[in-house]
Amino acid sequence: MSLTARDIAEITRLLEDSSFDELELEIDGLKIHLRRNGDIPRFPAKGDRPQSTSVESNQARSPLLENSAPRETPPPPADPDLTEVRAPLLGTFYRAPKPGAPPFVEAGASVEPDTVIGIIEVMKLMNAVRAGARGVVRDIRARDGALVEYGETLLLIDARESR
């Protein structure tokens, strides 16, 4: 396999600079599927095993599937002023109402309980996620366009700074 991580980064840059939205590439059994605008790739580039080789060990598993242990529910923040906003359902998390638009909230933004902080998409159905607490957005943990699990922490809200 001759492709390196740098090659893939370069290919990604080329796509970004081009007028195309999507790129599919197959070299020596390595399949790369790149798509613009945070849509879910069917076959994550790094996650795919080359078709031509047989992978025997768990060590060779794709990065996507590295965390084989079940994710523990994160312990509640030690600071009582911090509130975790958790994913109310499994789906794809989006920080902005549409691709290219500014995010609903950035770190430092003041929010009310009904402020929309993101969207979770399930099968083309967009579900608004609200802050559920008053305060200032501290730590945005969920990545834009990533799959979030039910109950996963999306961001933290600090109640102190709004007083």
Partner: protein, 457 residues
């Protein structure tokens, strides 16, 4: 098309079972778990686990869109639905088809036919598979006319139901109207389909089913039959293969009828065609087709040497039945006991809780399919199956001896189980002779000595 990563849309022992074969085949797995199953044994065996929702199945395991989204979001190319939950929902298979995720099972059209008992009856009739006298009852007049022809007693069944749900026994013509009304109302509420039909009630029959595999192109093979007559309220608890005491010629006719039915559907994947068999009269009737993996598939695997989950995956990835060739028919006999978290002394009430300690048997000819280890929680939201103990032997006597010994050394502390009932059945002369009918367990439970023992302790 090769399958490289499978989302397991199920839990419990069947999730373990599917994960095991995936490991053997070097296929990556994503377990879609509810919050209650996040720390379960299958969650640790899977390559990755994603939490799809709260414990209650209607908010997690039964949500087609969450399962498909989880598959897409983790780059899975296929979904294995297991049994129960979404496994026989045509709409779920269709959603997978629409999103380019391979549904490991039949096509959505085949699921729709198998799920509609009237359509299934019509398909059976079309290939001369014998049916119990009966038919659709769209109005009271038609129903009474039909009932007069069928004779009493008869069953009112839901067209959209199955597995005994939504079924009413009618013993006198005067009770027919009330039963029809009740059955239609129940069926409408439970399955969203109020259509009911009538069928002759065969009182002394055995439940015999045939395991089939189809490639979707019209090629069907069978892997022999299973006798599942030891049941309580249509819930099977002991299954075995081959069905004891069935004449060779009748057995061949059963196999052939199953092949014809599955062939008519150009069936794809693993499925089971169920029959009621009246051995005395040398007759049998088509009951229904279960278009999925069955709980009791391991007895067939023990005797045939075929890994049915691997066969399902091979068929779904387009390899057809090729992998079936050259597999050794091991022969002999296999019997399975379903170990449930339920209390026979309290009318089989479910007994969820924490399993403080467990000891499963480990001996020659014994296989255990389970997700229960010491410290495991049995949540109240799901079915009560803790595991299955399967014994294989060169003949029925040896399989029985091994199974009795295996049941005797099994210990499950912390919750009530039906282990004691299994020990009783396996030592009962009537069961040991073989060939009991579906009324056997109810009669055993009603025996005076047993009833008295229950009252005293």
């Amino acid at each position: 098309m090769s399958i490289r990563r499978i989302l397991v849309a199920n839990r419990g022992e069947i999730a373990m079972r599917i994960l095991r074969t995936c490991r053997k085949l070097d296929i990556e797995t994503v377990l879609a778990a509810s919050e209650a199953d996040r720390d379960s044994l299958p969650a640790r065996l899977a390559t990755r686990t994603v939490c799809i929702g709260p414990a209650h199945p209607t908010a997690s395991y039964l949500k087609p869109e969450l399962q498909v989204q989880a598959a897409l979001g983790t780059g899975c190319d296929a979904i294995h639905p297991g049994y129960g939950f979404l496994s026989e929902r045509a709409a779920f298979a269709r959603l997978c088809e629409q999103h380019g995720v391979t549904f490991i099972g039949p096509t959505s059209e085949q699921l729709a036919i198998a799920g509609d008992k009237l359509a299934a009856r019509a398909a059976a009739k079309g290939v001369d598979v014998p049916l119990a006298p009966g038919g659709e009852a769209p109005s009271l007049d038609v129903a009474h006319e039909l009932a007069a022809r069928i004779g009493m007693p008869l069953l009112v069944k839901a067209a959209g139901g199955g597995g005994g749900r939504g079924m009413k026994l009618v013993e006198r013509a005067a009770d027919l109207d009330a039963a029809l009304e009740l059955a239609a109302a129940e069926a409408g509420a439970a399955f969203g389909d109020a259509r009911v039909y009538l069928e002759r009630f065969v009182a002394r029959a055995r439940h015999v089913e045939v395991q089939v595999l189809g490639d979707g192109a019209g090629n069907i093979v069978h892997l022999g039959e299973r006798d599942c007559s030891v049941q309580r309220r249509y819930q099977k608890i002991i299954e075995e293969t081959p069905a004891p005491g069935i004449p060779h010629e009748l057995r061949a006719r059963l196999h052939d009828a199953a092949l014809r039915f599955a062939g008519r559907l150009r069936y794809r994947g693993a499925g089971t065609v169920e029959f009621l068999v009246d051995v005395q009269r040398d007759e049998f009737y088509f009951l229904e087709m279960n278009a999925r993996l069955q709980v009791e598939h391991p007895v067939t695997e023990a005797v045939s040497g075929v890994d049915i989950v691997a066969a399902q995956i091979a068929i779904a990835s387009g390899s057809g039945l090729r992998l079936m060739r050259g597999e050794a028919w091991r022969d002999g006999c296999a019997i399975e006991c379903r170990i449930n978290a339920e209390d026979p002394a309290r009318d089989f009430a479910p007994s969820p809780g924490t399993v403080h300690s467990v000891r499963w048997p480990d001996a020659e000819g014994i296989r255990v399919d389970t997700h229960i280890e010491s410290g495991a929680r049995v949540p109240p939201f799901y079915d009560s199956l803790l595991g299955k103990i399967i014994a294989h032997g060169r003949d029925r006597a040896q399989a029985l001896t091994r199974l009795r010994a295996a049941i005797a050394i099994t210990r499950i502390e912390g919750i009530a189980t039906n282990l004691g009932l299994h020990a009783e059945i396996l030592a009962d002369p009537e069961f040991m002779r073989g060939g009991v009918d579906t009324g056997y367990l109810a009669r055993l439970l009603a025996r005076p000595a047993r009833a008295a023992a229950r009252q005293h302790g």
